[in-house]
Amino acid sequence: MFLKRKDLLTIRDLDVEEIKLILETASSFEEILTRPIKKVPTLRGKTIVNFFLEPSTRTRSSFELAAKMLSAELINISAKTSAVAKGESLKDTAKTFEAMKIDALVIRHSSSGAPHLLAKFANFSVINAGDGTHEHPTQALLDLFTIKKKLGKISGLKIAIVGDILHSRVARSNILAFNKMGVKVTLVAPPTLIPLDIEALDVEVRYNLNEVIKEVDVVYLLRIQLERQAEALFPSIREYSSLFGLNLERIREIKPNTLIMHPGPINRGIEISAEVAELPNAIIADQVESGISVRMALLYLLLGGKTGGGG
């Protein structure tokens, strides 16, 4: 079975069956990571472009490893090395890669909706690896995979997402993905970091983290982007940290098996203290590991069904 779509642009496009298929496929790929030779011929002959116009460590290398483990050819292009630096438009970029007969392009872009624009002009598959403050669908998928692996289920869980919801593409994708999978989502942040009308996504908004963390199965922290302080959305990092940072004292009363997650990169001492980040409950590294299997699954499900692939 394959995904019957050309692109993966958003979580909201996916139905529950598609999400389940991706997670099940990721499970079957997971074993490859434990092999001494981590490579299968599944996508031999396929060409994938990693097109990252914003800095990224984990998403970019995760896609790269996933593609290589499936034996696909992979080209890495970053902002400085691309013609975008010379002012080439996204439309012309699409046409250029189309002429090179690539099979898929993974895009990270600072503009919300940029993957949509590219997908509109391209005949190859477009995978959104984070666009502006819109979505980061593969992050949500790998988070679902991690939670399922750790807690054995997803449906019925309670998850708190804490931090800069307003600017977070992870928050948007995760809210949508958690909702689809039957999770009760609570958002915790100062009101200046809560986007308008978010309640319409069937989430609860609360301001008191101390109360919320006692009630949930997962505390999902978002990175505070330090540059946001210039917009004066909160008075100081110090005050933010004192109200919304996770430290040992604050988590004293949480349920023992409550998971602490973070999409990375973390700001130690701001949204999470160094001590908490290293607790066994904090499964930040597991999220990274899941990323590879989930992205292998996704590449396989989008590209494997097409003719011409080895596999």
Binding site: S111, S112, L117, T133, E135, I198
Partner: protein
């Protein structure tokens, strides 16, 4: 040259006429309006089952000349206007250079007159360079022929500058056309702030960014006694504020665009940059309120905010795309299809908002059909269906989200400035005598 328009439904709200009547045009002027006019040697235009109205007036048009002639020119914009039924349009001052001195006004009027299609009424800048700092030489601009002042696209953020502009403009009895947007509240904004901006991760332009400025300017207009016209009203709150100010006797009028009456922010789900406009598409609740305002008279006029943009300004990331959509060639059929046909407003109400009221607000001729007046007149087939095809636009720009929409209500014939300019859905590039003969071969009879 005589034309006899037979058996059309004449809708002329300024003269309180909505009746089947014949119209006789002689030497570019209306000679008679009556039942069953009989005359020899006139070109007869059969208008049965059609609607005859005064030439429409679009009081919010960007012609882009001078500066961006690749997007629109006075000529292409005039052609788009005539094709859309508009015999008069304003030209907003945010050109490059902006319309803040007499020589540019003269250039626009000169070109418009050479084109000889729609009447073009230039709007001058409120402030020099549209910078919002010092008021422009208004007397000089008036002398050159502007009919109003506006810093459209920009708000005059400084309340003192606005106060001075309002006071000074009182000398000329022309309106200040105000684009209402608090630039701090709307900073970097891309879409209406609400559920869809949240879902799409687009920086929001809150309704309140418009409303605080509407409120400020209504207060200043009340204080100074100035005449103001609020451009492209888009929110429920603005409608309420304007209704209240009108009750208090503030000299305020306002307009709404067809797209703000028809589309809502949920249309943005595919990041179509043709829907990126300023003010942004709002919520269903706002649309309902705008429609109510139109019905109860709070909203005086409908204007397209025709904003042509080149393809490369729109085929880009949403946050990099220019604001605006073209409208001259779709306004009338959209309004007929979505408002008149669906029973929201009547035909006379629509025509009032598209002709009589804009003429009154701007203090320009037209907006009604009276014997003796130079004829600006449109004949519309309200039932004819067609599909919007941007590649067939007269406008040089194709940034319309309505491409592919199936609409009804097509402009068939247009008289502009006394001349038959558009006949049987086509421009008359021919001299009138040739028209006479060409026409005679078709449906026109002697």
């Amino acid at each position: 040259m005589k034309y006899l328009i037979k058996k059309g439904r004449l809708v002329d709200p300024a003269n309180r006429i909505d009746k089947i009547l014949d119209i006789l045009i002689e030497d570019g002027k209306i000679k008679a309006i009556d039942q069953e006019i009989e005359i020899e040697k006139a070109i007869i235009i059969d208008a049965s089952n059609k609607i005859v109205t005064p030439g429409l007036i679009d009081m919010h048009v960007h012609l882009r000349e001078p500066g961006r002639e690749d997007e629109e020119t006075i000529e292409s914009g005039s052609r788009a206007a005539i094709k859309g039924g508009f015999t008069a349009i304003t030209s907003m001052p945010n050109t490059d250079p902006p319309v803040d001195n007499a020589s540019i006004v003269e250039m626009i009027l000169e070109k418009a007159s050479r084109v000889g299609l729609a009447r073009v009424f230039p709007v001058g800048a409120i402030t020099k360079g549209l910078k919002g700092e010092e008021i422009s030489e208004m007397a000089d601009l008036i002398q050159a022929g502007v009919v109003a002042f506006s810093d459209d696209g920009n708000s005059v953020m400084n309340a003192l500058v606005m106060r001075r502009a309002m006071e000074y403009a009182k000398m000329f009895n022309v309106p200040l056309i105000l684009h209402e947007e608090d630039k701090n509240l709307s900073r970097h904004g891309q879409a209406n702030e609400g559920f869809y901006s949240t879902l799409l991760g687009l920086k929001g332009i809150p309704a309140v960014a418009e409303e605080v400025m509407v409120a400020r300017d209504l207060l200043l207009a009340k204080f100074t006694g100035a005449k103001i016209h609020i451009a492209h009203v888009s929110t429920k709150g603005s409608v309420a504020l304007i209704a209240q100010a009108k009750n208090e006797g503030v000299k305020v009028t306002c307009e709404v665009t067809p797209h703000h009456l028809i589309l809502t922010h949920d249309n943005l789900m595919d990041f179509d940059t043709n829907l990126k406009i300023n003010p942004p598409l709002r919520s269903r609740e706002d649309v309902e309120s705008l429609r109510e305002g139109l019905k109860d008279g709070t909203i005086d006029a409908i204007a397209s905010d025709h904003a042509p943009h080149a393809r490369q300004e729109k085929e880009v990331e949403f946050d990099l795309a220019s604001f605006g959509m073209v409208g001259l060639e779709t306004s009338l059929p959209l309004l007929i299809t979505e408002l008149v046909d669906k029973g929201v407003i009547s035909f006379p109400c629509l025509i009032e908002k598209l002709s009589a009221n804009p003429a009154k607000i701007l203090g320009v001729p037209g907006g009604k059909l009276s014997p003796g007046s130079s004829v600006d007149l449109v004949i519309i087939d309200p039932e004819e269906k067609f599909e919007v095809k941007v590649e067939k636009f007269e406008s040089k720009s194709h940034n319309s989200p309505f491409n592919g929409w199936k609409l009804k209500g097509l402009v068939k014939h247009v008289f502009s400035q006394g001349k038959l300019a558009f006949f049987e859905g086509a421009f008359l590039e021919l001299k009138e005598e040739q028209v006479f003969r060409e026409g005679a071969k078709k449906k026109v009879t002697l």
